[in-house]
Structures are given as C-alpha cells and as structure tokens.
Subunit: 332 residues, 2 copies
C-alpha cells in the first residue's frame, strides 16, 4: 500500500520562548549550556522573571522536523499534546499552516501547553529550559493506528522518554508501523537525555524497534559511554540498520553495516541560533530517504536544512526548503 | 519636582503575530496594505486560518515606544490593558524585562489580550490586523494619578480613540500632567485612524491638550485633508507647540512656530520589516527631548532608533539603543 504520509513525526509539542543572553547569565542561573534542561512550574516562573524580552515561536524537536519535511514538500503528519490554551492554539496553527497534518486531541484543562525558555548566547549556542506541561499527558490513546499504518516512516524524539506514558505510545506505534511494512526512526535528542534512558534506547535499537537513528557526536558518545567518536560509530553500526551522526561544522557521518559516508557541512556565513539544527538535519535526511536519494545525498539535504535554520533566530525554516533544494544542485 | 519617570507611555497593549506573505495575499484577503485594519473576533479567526506560520512578539505602538525609551536608558512607565491570559503574561514580561514600569491591572476574564496579525510583504511593508480584545476595557480608573504627575512627558497613541473609554483616560491624564507642569505628546498613529477622529485630534491640539505631535507624511496629509506636504506642515506648526513629521527614507521634519529642521534618515542596508518604525522614531525623539538635546539631534536620535527596528522582524529593538547612540557620534 502506498504511504498516505511520507513521515509521521511524534514529539513533545512545545512553544519556544527565545531570548539572547551572555554566558555569565547561564552560569548565574545554573543552566547547563547547550543542553535541554527540564524545569518544573516553579523554576519556569523564576527563570522567566530573570529572562530578558523574548519572542515566541512554535518548536519541539519532532515538530521542527515535521515543519522541515513539509517545507521540502513531503506529506507529513505530526502527533503531540498541547492544551487548549493560547500557546496550544499557536502551536496548532503554525504546524498546520506549513502543511502538516495534526489532529492529536488537545487537553481541555491543565497542565498548560509546554514551553521551552531558550537562551541564545553570542556564539549562537542555545540552552533550553523546558516545562513539559501538557506533554506529560501524551499516551497510547493519542496514537491513531490508521495514521501510523499509512506513514512510510514513523519518527520520534528520545525526549519522549521524559513524560510518563509517551514511551508506551511510541512502542505501540512502532509495532503498528512494522506490522505494515513501514520503518521507524528516532533521534537520541540530547546527551543528558541519553544518559537518563541509555539502556532503554539501546534496547529499542537492538530489538529492532527502531531502524534509523539520528544522533550528534555527544549523544553518540553518551550512548556508548566512550570518549572516542570512532568507537561510538563502530558500535552504532552494529546496533541499528542505519545511523546518521551529525558533527556541527564537520558535517555528518552515515553508517550502516554495509555503508560508510562522510558528508561535509554546508557553508554558513554566521551561526545566529543553533536551535533546530539537528531537527532540520533529520528533516532533510528523511526527505531524502522518502524520495529515494542515496545516503550521501540524504546527508547533504540534511546539512542544507540545518544550515538554513542556524542562520536565523527560531527553530523552523523561514524559506521554502523545496526551493533551497532545487537551487542547491543536490537533486540534479 | 524632578520627574520620577522621563516618559509615561499609554497605549493599546498588543501581542504581534507576524508572518510573511506576498502582495496577492493582501488583495485576496482584502487587507489595506500599510494600514492598521481593525478586526472583530470572527474576522480574526478567519484571517489566522489563512495566515502562514508566524512568530509572536510583544508590540503595541506606545508599548514599542516605551521599550525603545527604556533601551536608550530613559526612566519609562507604560499603561495599557491586557487580560490575565498567556498573551497578557507575555506582554507583561517583555515590557518589564526591558526595564519599563508597568502595573496596569490585568483583566481577570474576557475579552482576551489584544493581538495584531501583521503581514510583512517582500518590500518590508507591514499590514496590521488588530483584534483589540482587552484593550477595549481601558478607562480612566486605570490611570494612576501619581504616576502621571511624576512623569516628565505623558505620551499616548491616537489608536486609543478606537476603544470606547480610553480617550477619557487620556483626557484625565493630560489634565494631571499639565497641572503638574509636565508635557503631553501624542502620535497620530495611522492615516485611517486620523480619518476616523480628525476633529477630535485637531481639538486636542488646538485646545492645548497635546503639546508635541508625531505624525508621518500620510497622517499629516490626512489630518489636514491636503495632498500638499508643505501645506500640512504650515498647518500643524500653528496647531501645536512642536511637531515631528517622519518621511521614511526622506528623514523627518521638526517644526514649531519658531523652528524648522530637516533631518536626514539614517542609512539602512535592507528594510526587512517596517513595523515599529514610527514608534521607535518617537522613542528616540522623546529620549532626546528628556535629555535636553536640540531639536535636530532629537530627530537624528529618532531616525537612529527607527533604522534599527526596520532592519529585523519585530517591532522592538534587538540591541541596546543606548549603545547604538553612543557609537553614533550624535551625543558627542
């Protein structure tokens, strides 16, 4: 059966609250630089009070990937939990407006829609402080089985192991996906997230729940508790069918048991805000996979999308990625 | 008595919802390009459905002016009405975070915080569609008499004539201000707003309720129903103590009965989004006035702030205007 959707992305549905700060602020507020820091309601209030003027933009790792896929022209669906509040309406609007199918029922009441306070330092690095809110209510009942069955790839974020029942939703979705001859992909999300759920993530890979894994260098090293990138690469090629590992300005490496590709990063004038870099790499890579590109070109398309998103504030593309790809020559 | 605040700004407290679109979209949706279009709840819903992915940023004309004044280092207060909802919390956070005193009581219930859907066309022009929401509830009871008495200048936007009772708040504030030997300033806001309230605005000026008037060229022409800029200038210098009239890339003209200054615009690389241009001109000009600069330099400082805000998306400064002024040489 032809896939109705190229990709179904599942993740924590989050609105980003973005401000600039200097490095001293991160130290003073005890924010782990470059990481996703989970915060409770009280800490969220305190941090927001200390935060400078901000702008708001829809985010969420898999949400950004879905937006990227749609911008490339892929048929894309998304599942994630918002509340029926103003931030939830903003999230819902933005993801639908870029062409993504999204109909996970919104929570009627509290907790409110998740938000992540993102501090961008002068080097362009982002440090996230996420209040999960309504995302904690995502569960298997939110998984539309027909939707999963009709998606070529079901993609999810490792961050979903933080809320209590989302992992059950993912395990159920993976079963349905594989039962319908589809593929399952995940991102390891964050080195500390890997540290929290290392054994479960390894099990997902080794038991074949997941076919394609996205990671960056520090997530890979965290997964295998090694300081050696090469050692990590050797390990992950044994543990999943396909892995794409990003290395910032050093590009990405794509490995399977049979293949090994090093892909250069796209040139970037100035890194403004790295938020969404990994998410958009995944979008480009998965778009390439759904269109039958070779692995190296999939990596290049991922790099193209990542380069766009780090050159402006905000985690989603601001130009048509389909146009960008057409101009890049990769698809010729 | 020394002024506790250099400026108290009063206006419609609005969160901007900003997206790009092409000119065809404006035509199709019947949006008057470059203007502030008032929309009701139903029209707001319909337009939002048609809008592309957006970002949110605190706005409101006088709110932007207050943010600009604080960024220059002026002691600034703001009054305006939000609801106690998520958008209201965002507005409140952002204006306080830039250093503005803001404590107008928030509405407990509906209508919700105002938002303006702003469409930015490829030429950088913005077309606004404002749902006034909680702003319709601003009234004289929201005016803190001590605050007005302690502000060197009370500044307000002509847009306040749209909600039903805000004009009563302004008239009361102007009385208190003048009774304390302070000054009152206003912006004409928008040519269609001028068209709606021409006689009342002229009366405010001619009866001395307002001392300083900000206008752009089309607002000036609308006020005096003339096609001649010079005729408008000749008229306004008779009607108020001081007027600053902006002309986009042609700079600004400052007139009083005694003075007449033409000030060049600051060079701009690329106009990205004109939202806030007039608001930030007013911020820079008023900052100059409070610091005792001559009129021409006040105009230059206004132009400096306007040039900053039109080179990025969003209606408030993204760098320190105090730093920008220090680097400009104007203050030497």
């Amino acid at each position: 059966m032809e896939a109705k959707y190229d990709v179904l992305a599942i993740g924590n549905a989050i609105v980003d609250v973005i401000a600039h700060c200097d490095d001293d602020f991160l130290v003073k507020e005890n924010i782990h630089k470059g990481a996703m820091n989970l915060v409770d309601a009280q800490r969220a209030e305190a941090l927001y009070s200390a935060m400078g003027p901000a702008i708001e933009a829809s985010g969420g790792s898999a949400g950004n990937t879905a937006a990227g896929l749609a911008s490339f022209g892929a048929k894309t669906a998304y599942a994630g939990k918002v509340a029926s509040d103003q931030l939830g309406k903003i999230f819902t609007h933005d993801i639908r407006a870029i062409g993504v199918h999204f109909d996970t029922p919104a929570l009627d009441d509290t907790p409110p829609t998740a938000r992540s306070m993102i501090f961008v330092t002068p080097d362009g690095e982002r440090s996230m402080n996420t209040f999960l809110g309504a995302c904690t209510e995502l569960g298997p009942e939110d998984i539309d089985e027909d939707l999963v069955a009709s998606a070529g790839i079901t993609y999810f974020e490792g961050y979903l192991w933080d809320p209590p029942r989302a992992k059950d939703a993912i395990r159920r979705a993976a079963e349905i996906s594989h039962a319908n001859g589809r593929s399952v992909a995940m991102t390891l999300s964050d080195p500390f997230c890997v540290d929290r759920y290392r054994n479960e993530f390894l099990e997902l890979m080794r038991q074949g729940t997941v076919d394609i894994v996205f990671a960056n260098e520090s997530e890979l090293k965290s997964l295998y508790q090694t300081a050696s990138f090469e050692e990590g690469l050797d390990a992950i090629r044994q543990d999943c069918a396909l892995a794409a590992v990003t290395r910032s300005e050093r590009g990405s490496v794509i490995v399977s048991r049979q293949e090994n590709h090093h892909v250069d990063a796209m040139p970037v004038e100035k890194v403004v805000d790295t938020t969404g870099a990994g998410d958009l790499y995944a979008a480009g890579f998965l778009f390439g996979v759904t269109q039958g590109f070779n692995m190296a070109d999939c990596g290049r398309i991922g790099g193209l999308a990542a380069a766009e998103v780090i050159q402006h504030v905000g985690p989603r593309p601001q130009v048509s990625l389909a146009d960008l790809l057409a101009q890049s020559g990769i698809a010729d």
